[in-house]
């Protein structure tokens, strides 16, 4: 397949870097200001080197990407809330041109799911978005394989930053502020970690899961969301007295989405440690399935994008 990649952050760059390994060509790569476009395949190493040196990616304009001869648009621009722009318009433009779209951007899938599906229905192309939920972990394809109707709920830990903080608090008996500062030093937490610790990032992923289970109907404002900022170290100590620990757990069903700190058995499957993520898929006929792995990171998330590309039918 010929890929056009919008967004040159960790994920977009990793997709470009790994595409060849998966048998695909990259004909365009754009960040917010410039683009490298070549229908015969761009010079990926050169473009990534320029990006690393803070130089323009290429000589083209980002909108020139849409004129390239691509089969799949990879939407890897930053997640935005509300109208989910400009990601949504990018998807729209590609579908209207009868191309496929693979999203790593959570915004459009969480906030404007029905509109995406309507655009897809009128297009020869299709949309896939495995990378939006749990990075490298095959969550959506597992639900797809089980058929969404046979899945009753999806639960789990889908934010590595919050999980890292809670794990360290429990292990070291430290308070939230201390561990957050440490996580920022280690580069696990962003300078502004709000979306991770207030539950918004996890909620977006569980909203996407609820949309898949119910075939739409949910956006972030339908989710009940609580963060971990109010959890003191002493709460984790008390939980441990009972063989339990506290994790930021999300739940998605056809009835709703809920994210908040919850008590889980210390040695249970959902008590993953560090930045690891886990999803439990509860099925009607096959009990619970658990998948655990790296929920973030450039190369990890890029593998989910490239798996999606591999599942697309030829145009």
């Amino acid at each position: 397949m010929q890929l056009a990649i919008l967004g040159a952050g960790d994920v977009g760059r990793s997709v470009a870097d790994l595409a060849g390994e998966y048998g695909h060509d990259v004909v365009a790569l754009a960040d917010s200001t410039t683009a490298a476009v070549d229908d015969d395949g761009i010079d990926i190493a050169g473009a990534l080197e320029r990006k690393a040196g803070d130089e323009p990616l290429g000589s083209s304009d980002p909108t020139d990407v849409f004129d390239a001869d691509y089969d799949v648009l990879v939407e890897a621009t930053p997640t935005t809330l509300g109208d989910a722009e400009p990601g949504f318009s990018h998807v729209k433009r590609a579908l209207e041109a009868d191309r496929h779209v693979v999203l790593a951007n959570k915004g459009p899938v969480a906030e404007r799911y029905e509109e995406l599906r309507a655009l897809e229905a009128d297009s020869a192309g299709s949309i896939r978005f495995e990378a939006t939920v749990g990075g490298a972990i095959p969550v959506l394809s597992t639900i797809e394989d089980s058929t969404p109707q046979a899945v009753t709920a999806a639960r789990g830990v889908l934010n590595g930053t919050a999980n890292f903080i809670l794990t360290r608090m429990a292990a070291e008996g430290l308070d939230y502020e201390h561990v957050l500062a440490e996580a920022q030093d280690l580069g696990v937490a962003e300078a502004d970690p709000t979306f991770d610790v207030d539950g918004t990032d996890a909620a977006l992923k569980f909203v996407i899961l609820a949309n898949v289970l119910a075939d739409g109907g949910f956006s972030l404002e339908d989710a009940t969301v609580e963060g971990i900022q109010n959890i003191p170290g002493s709460a984790l100590d008390l939980a441990a007295e009972d063989g339990r620990t506290i994790r930021l757990i999300g739940e998605a069903t056809r009835d709703g989405v809920r994210v908040g700190p919850r008590l889980v058995p210390e040695n249970g499957p959902l008590a993953v440690t560090g930045t690891r993520n886990i999803v439990q898929i509860e099925t009607r006929n096959a009990g619970s399935l658990h998948s655990s792995g790296r929920g973030a990171g450039g190369p990890e998330t890029a593998t989910a994008v490239l798996s999606d590309v591999g599942r697309l039918p030829p145009l």
């Binding site: 639960r155 008390l238 008590l263």
Partner: protein, 188 residues
């Protein structure tokens, strides 16, 4: 000693023809050989039929003892005698429900617990969530006028967990407390 029943107790059939009822007794044992047998003898000797013993080895209570939960059945008029016999034998009975509570859940409350009248919070949980507080553990590392945490273990009727947690959420909102609930459902 009465034999331990081979059949697991059916939650829906706590009452039998002979007017026998099922009860749950929660004990704390010192970690020494022979303690479990010493704790069970008064039950059998006083007409109780042991149904199941949940011996949480390796799981210490905050006081450093081993929690043991015993399900037994007996005619209602004999139950008080059994509990008295246990206490006479020096066994620490934490909870002797005159009702059979099918489920036990723990919640952790975080906030200005003491300023917000912890004992009122607990009585509201018992009344509004239809639960029995079995154990309470409080941690106030910054002092009682700062944010503290409490773990409350509750006994509730089978199938009532969701309703109980909903009631506790409401109490938490009223009292500006963060309620960390257990994750129910699935095999979490």
């Amino acid at each position: 000693m009465t034999a331990v029943s081979d059949d697991p107790v059916d939650e829906d059939e706590t009452e039998t023809d002979g007017g026998v009822r099922a009860y749950t007794v929660r004990l704390e044992l010192v970690d020494e050989p022979g303690e479990l047998l010493r704790a069970l003898s008064p039950i059998a000797d006083n007409g109780g039929n042991l149904l199941s013993i949940h011996h949480e080895r390796g799981n210490m209570t905050p006081r450093g003892h081993i929690p043991v939960e015993v399900d037994l059945e007996c005619p209602p008029d004999r139950f008080d005698g059994i509990v008295d016999a246990l206490r006479d034998a020096g066994v620490n009975v934490i909870q002797a429900g005159a009702e059979h509570y099918g489920e036990e859940i723990s919640v952790v409350l975080v906030g200005n617990l003491v300023e917000r009248d912890l004992s009122n919070t607990l009585s509201r949980i018992e009344d509004e969530a239809d639960a029995v507080v079995r154990d309470l553990s409080l941690a106030a590392p910054e002092g009682t006028d700062a944010v503290s945490s409490a773990r409350v273990r509750l006994a509730i009727d089978s199938g009532r967990s969701d309703a109980a947690l909903e009631a506790i959420r409401t109490i938490g909102t009223d009292k500006e407390l963060t309620v960390v609930e257990p994750l129910l459902g699935g095999d979490a």
